[in-house]
Structures are given as C-alpha cells and as structure tokens.
Symmetry: C4
Subunit: 241 residues, 4 copies
Amino acid sequence: MRRFGRASNVNIGATGRATGDGAAGACSGQVGQIGSSVQQHRLPDVAAATLLSLASRCHARGWAQATSGNFSVRLDARRFVITKSGLDKGALRAEDLLVVDLDGNPLTDGRPSAETPLHAQVYRRRPGITAVAHTHSVAATVLSRALLAEGYVVLSGFEMLKALVGIDTHETAIRLPIFPNEQDVQRLATQVDAELGGDDCVYGYLLAGHGLYTWGTSAGEAARHVEAIEFLLECVLHGRR
Amino acid sequence: MRRFGRASNVNIGATGRATGDGAAGACSGQVGQIGSSVQQHRLPDVAAATLLSLASRCHARGWAQATSGNFSVRLDARRFVITKSGLDKGALRAEDLLVVDLDGNPLTDGRPSAETPLHAQVYRRRPGITAVAHTHSVAATVLSRALLAEGYVVLSGFEMLKALVGIDTHETAIRLPIFPNEQDVQRLATQVDAELGGDDCVYGYLLAGHGLYTWGTSAGEAARHVEAIEFLLECVLHGRR
Amino acid sequence: MRRFGRASNVNIGATGRATGDGAAGACSGQVGQIGSSVQQHRLPDVAAATLLSLASRCHARGWAQATSGNFSVRLDARRFVITKSGLDKGALRAEDLLVVDLDGNPLTDGRPSAETPLHAQVYRRRPGITAVAHTHSVAATVLSRALLAEGYVVLSGFEMLKALVGIDTHETAIRLPIFPNEQDVQRLATQVDAELGGDDCVYGYLLAGHGLYTWGTSAGEAARHVEAIEFLLECVLHGRR
Amino acid sequence: MRRFGRASNVNIGATGRATGDGAAGACSGQVGQIGSSVQQHRLPDVAAATLLSLASRCHARGWAQATSGNFSVRLDARRFVITKSGLDKGALRAEDLLVVDLDGNPLTDGRPSAETPLHAQVYRRRPGITAVAHTHSVAATVLSRALLAEGYVVLSGFEMLKALVGIDTHETAIRLPIFPNEQDVQRLATQVDAELGGDDCVYGYLLAGHGLYTWGTSAGEAARHVEAIEFLLECVLHGRR
C-alpha cells in the first residue's frame, strides 16, 4: 500500500495523500548500508517529513502547547519513529525524532517521548496502523475529567463520525474510553492493552486531565481522526452548557 | 452577468468580486472542442479557481475539518462543479473537483461529494444561484441538535442579517429550517425540495448534528452568507448561556 | 501633530506609530492640483494606507465578517475617508475608500458606508479624533442585546482600562452606552449626538445586536481602543456564566 | 549555562532552544567599549532577539492585546532588558527595549514598562531566572476576579502541570496566588516579595482583573510556562460552567 510519496516537501493533508513528488515507495526509503547498526536505523526522509507535518498540523491547532503532545509513524513491522521528549511540537526538525522498536526501546540517539509505550501498544496490537497522534486540547482535558466516573465519552448521532474510517452513517455511536491518568506509563500501556487490545471499534481513548490518543492507517487518516474527534469533543463540551 | 473575472490568481472575497485580471467572461471560459464528450466537460480555469477559493476560505475558518464540508459552483444551466468526496478542503487542487449534471450525475472522472443531491436541489430550484456552501461548525452542529424539536433556528433583530441578500433592515427575522439528518441523501434532497422548494425567504438550512447549507448568486455572495449565518449561530449559542 | 509617516508600507500598530519611511506629514499629503474638484479630494496615499491597515487589522481579528464593519480616518477639519459600503474588509484596496465631508456627503466617486453619519458625528463633535472604527464581534453583539434594558455595559476594575487614553488607573469604571439599533442612521446619529455629544468620558458605544463604535486621536489609538474594549467585552461575557 | 545562541534569526521555541547559528555565549555578547557608560549598557543582539521573540510569541496568542503585557530577559547579575511602556507587543523592534538595573532604574534611554518593579522582584529573588513574561488573557482576567476572595487558583491533577520545571507528575497541585491589583506598582512588588519571596514552589501569580506573571530559567522555559499556565486557566474556566 502506498501511503506517502517521496518528496522534498511532503504535505500530509487530512486525506493522507502526500502532496510531494510522490514517486518512490516510502517505507523502505533510504535505509542505509548493510552492516552498520546506526545506519540500519537511519530515519528515511519521507517518514521524517510525514511525522513533522503531522506534529506541526496538530500544534497549529493549539493541541500541543508547551511541548505537550507526541506523534509517531511506523517504519516497518518492528520499528516506528517518534518525537523526542520535551520539545516544542511547532518547531521540530528531523533531528528531534528518533527510531524505536515495538517495545519502545530507542534504536537511535536521544530520549523518546515519555509516552512511547502508549504508541508502541498501538503498533503492536494494530498491525495496519502507521501513525499515532496524542493531543492535549481544552475540550479533551475538561471532558475527560468531568466524565471519568462514567468511563467514556459517547459520541452519538453526529455526521462528523463518518470521518472515522469504517463509519458510513451518522446513525451510530462510538465510545471514547477514559482512563485515569497514570505516572507509570508502562503500567498504563498494559492497562490500555488489557482493556482495548486492538479493538477496531475503538478509534481512540482519553487520559483523564491529559488528552486524546488516536491513530490511523496513514498519517493523513490519523490527522483526520484527530480533527474529527477534537471537533466532536468541542461539540459535546458546548452542548453541556 | 459578470460574476468572476479571468485570473491566474482568483481571490473571491465576501463581496464576490474576483480580484484577478478580470477580463474574460467566466461561465463559458474554455469549454473544449466540439465532438469530445470528455473535453465538453473540461473544467474552466476560472470556475475551478473560484470554487477552490470558496472551499479554502471556509476551511481556514475551521468550518470544514477532517475532510468534512462540500462546495460547488454552477457552470451553466445544466451543470455544476463540486468538490470530490473525502478530501481535505484546505488542500484541494483542480483535479479534486468534478463536473456533474443537475441530477448529480458525474460528467468527468471521479467520485463527487456524497451530498451532491443537496447541491443539485439548490441549482434546480434556484436558477439564479451559482454557488453552494456546506459547512460544519461547532455552533451549527450544537444548535441544530438542541433545536431540532422546534424545527428551526430563529435569527431575529441582528444587524448582521443585512449581509443576506435582499435584507435591508435588522428589524426582521429569518428562520433556518432544521432537518433531521438522513443517510439517504437523495431522500433528504427530496424532503428539502418538498418543504423549501426555491423559497427566496430561505437563506439556508441546517441538518441536525451535521451542519449548514447556504448559497449565493455568486461565490462571493455564498461566502458572505456563510460568514453571516455562522456568526449569527455563534451569537445564538453564546446568548443561550 | 505628526500622526503617521509617509511610507510605502505603512503598518499602524496599536500604538499608532506608523512603521514606514516616516518622513512627510500625512494629513496634507498629495492633495492634488488647484482647480480640479475631483483632484482636490484625491485620497493621500498615507491616509489610504492607514485606513486599509486599520480595517485589515480588525478584520483579521474576526470583527468585520461578511462585509460588516466600517472604518474611517480624518483628512482635515472638513473631510474624512471612509470604507465603501458592502465590501470585504479583509480585501480592501485604495479604490474601495472614498472621501466625504463632515455631513457625510461623498466628495469622490462611490457609495460610502451606510453608517457614515455615525462616523461624521464623531468627527464633528470630537475635533481631536482622527480615526473611527466600527466592529461586529460576538461579544459586543450578545452583550448589547442582553444589557439593552440597562442602557450600558459597565467595565470596572480591569487593568485593561488603562489602554484607554486618559485612564491611568484600574480603580475606575467606564460605561459603554447601548443604543437600540435604528434603521434610520441619520436619526441614530442625531440621538447619539444628543446623548453623548463629544463627552470625553465616553470611549465608545454599542448598538444593540449590532456592534461597537470607538475612536482615537490616531489610527493606532483607535486600534488600541478597539482591542481593549473587545477584550473587556469578552471578559464580561465569560464572567457572566 | 548556555541559554541561547548567537543568531541573526533567533527563534526561541517553548523548549528554550534558540534555533539560530548558535555559536557564541549569549549573556556577554557585544557589551561595548570600556569607558562608555552608554555603550556599557548597549543591548546585545541576542538578548534583544530573544526578548522580541518571546513578546511576539505571546502577542500572537492574543495574550498582549492593546499594548498590554510586558516581557523581559536578564542580561547579567545586575541588569535586565524589558519592553518599553505602551507599545504594541506584536510590532516591537530592538529600539523598543531598554536596559534596567535590579531596582528597575533605566540604564538606557526610554521609559520602561510601568510594571518593571515586578520584573525586578523576580530577578532579585530568583537568581536562576533569566526571563519574565506578563500576559493578559481572558481566562486569567476572569478567574483572577472570580477567585480573588480565595486568594489563589488551584491547578490540580492536570498532565500539563509537567510542563512546569521540576514537576514530573500530574499527581500534584500548585497554587497560583492572586493579588489584588494595585496602582502603586512598587508597593505591589513589595507585597509580592513579602508573600512569595523566591519560593520555588510558586510558578507564577495572578493580579486580579489584570493578568499572569510567570518566569523561566530561559526565555524558552518562560514561554513554556506561560503556555502551560494559560492552557490550564482555560481548562479551569471551562470546567466551572
């Protein structure tokens, strides 16, 4: 499946179509020379560009303020690229990303996002997923605290639900599970894994007082899911007043 | 009637004046050679630019997130151009538009917006209309659900009503009908047609939990109508608290 | 008094300082040749640039949507320049402005803003004022309707009050009078004149369901007053919930 | 400690990393020639660029409207640079900054911000701090008035708290003290000093009906603190409805 094209300027819109030169396959890209462990994990330009675009898009919406939020894209069955810890998501460069394995262990230099285990959980459980986005919005933060006792936010009857892959009717409802926030991210990932697994009916989840995790089979789909869910959370928030 | 000029960069402001080179008539444009059915429906550059500008303008306001929303402009008495289905309205290009007839049948390659029948209904019933805009805003989504039982949103006494063509006083009220959202868009278009026809006193309508449909005798007028109605919906939403 | 400098790119920030080449006096500028009534009222480049900047600044804040809002700057004791009627305030050009006298009569070609009498009232009554801004914001629209019966909005105890010329303490309160909106703008101007005159303690007023009028001794001061008052109206609106 | 690099274009993101040429140490910079008191206090280019970037960043967020807000960076143990009084923080230039000592006395030409004593208090009491930001947001203004009787805003349990230096868990709470606004800024600074001193557990404070003061060991850290606290204040404001 071609998800993004080779590009000098890769722009991933919410449809996932990379608007670049778009000729070569992305995932293999420039993997490096045989025999060099560092170069084996060299970050392909396209993957870097894709991830930077996703992070930048979310930051521009106000969903990754004060170095919050984290974003990743899959490289292959065993590795993904994630934003480093504690950086301004509106000013990232390729050197601010690093490659990790599906246990979240860094394979290139640097300190990965503290929430890497939550990304790894998605990639392990959902083989078709190639991008994960974690955003911090006011709506997600407020609603996840207000509705923690219920355990989920219900999004029901909205046309915008059809922006979520596989949903072709507004006459439906989805639940966004809410997990209590947890300092031990590994334990949190284990809990998410135990409760959600790779359930295709789950499009994302909330961490109380924290934010939203969602994903997609491409960076564009992940961006579309973030936009749709954050929009719906705002609708729910305003509808409660 | 000259509604937009020939331009390399056509910018349609809310007044409908195309700020381009502005020399040639727009509607005929470069229609193609006799005898070629594909080229007969080739999309004139000006129409494409006009429509892209309208979509981009609405997307920039946050009213077409996550590939939602759809926009169209009339080509002639029998055809209009509409945005294709499922694309990021902030990153459209000419190839993302297609020509359809007034029954909504595509005349060029591609899959038109799923809501094409609603656009076609407007063009059939309202011969003077040359642009249709469908937006998804938080205010429209929330209010259309809250007031569905009433069947309409009343906009009364606002100065901004004078931005709607034909209204020259704030001492008036208009109703935005609210229709229950419907999966069968053809059936929905039939219902809208039966209840609204081409009533000149109706400036737009809402689909519950979905969004706003409005239109104009030019793309600029449609843009102005969208801006005015979305502004007023926000005023109503804030005024209810 | 030098209020703005000659510039190719005049940028009027909220302090009123024109950040351009800044050499020549603005008000006289390039007035035209003796004996030509049209050229007598030719719009000086600097005045045009100043006014375009003020309108653009307010439009960018969302306070002049759907061609609403109007803006003016004084040329001399007898004339001012105002934005023409019904145009997108985010896309104005010099040809979209026209010169009027203090009775609001156009002195150059075009149709002035319908609300010209309200601008003229300010210039007649307040000789030191050189710019007037009329904005349409959600906060101003909602509050002016909610508090019409009281007849004014009280802004009390805010630090931001010190952005209003002549106010050097937060330990004060000002009132923004609210007038019922009126179709006969001339009559409205007469009413405003009768009730407010040129009272220096009045920094602006609201038209119910319509918007804000405010002014300044320079375009920068007017911009600062608009920003300060619109900010405070938002604080009042949010503080009521 | 290297906090910012030498740069022609210094961009201070929220992480504090200056993305410029980044070679020379910032604090000493180009201090001037021995024997010239004016040149002794010449403003180093990097410090100017850093401060302009911080002010611009906050202004772009809407937190310094109508010339409100003020920002400073430390030069050395005895001096800091602060924005001049009454200027548009979105259009500042190097000449709009001036050097002051830790008593707030200007060492270069110009009128410093009226709130200079509050900045000086931070630099005197907190030797590690190199940047101070004072913002005016709707959330800070509204909440500081609503909760003045309590004397503080509690921010508890939010993940965003971890954006504040030294906080590595969401399972905590901080208090933002609220002081009544005061015309005599020197007296206010004395009060703040008496009540807060250089308490490391205090990340900022509010002035009622006025705004937020916060700081950082770098301009980037200060920017991150402003973003985090303003975000949390919005969450508290929306959570109260």
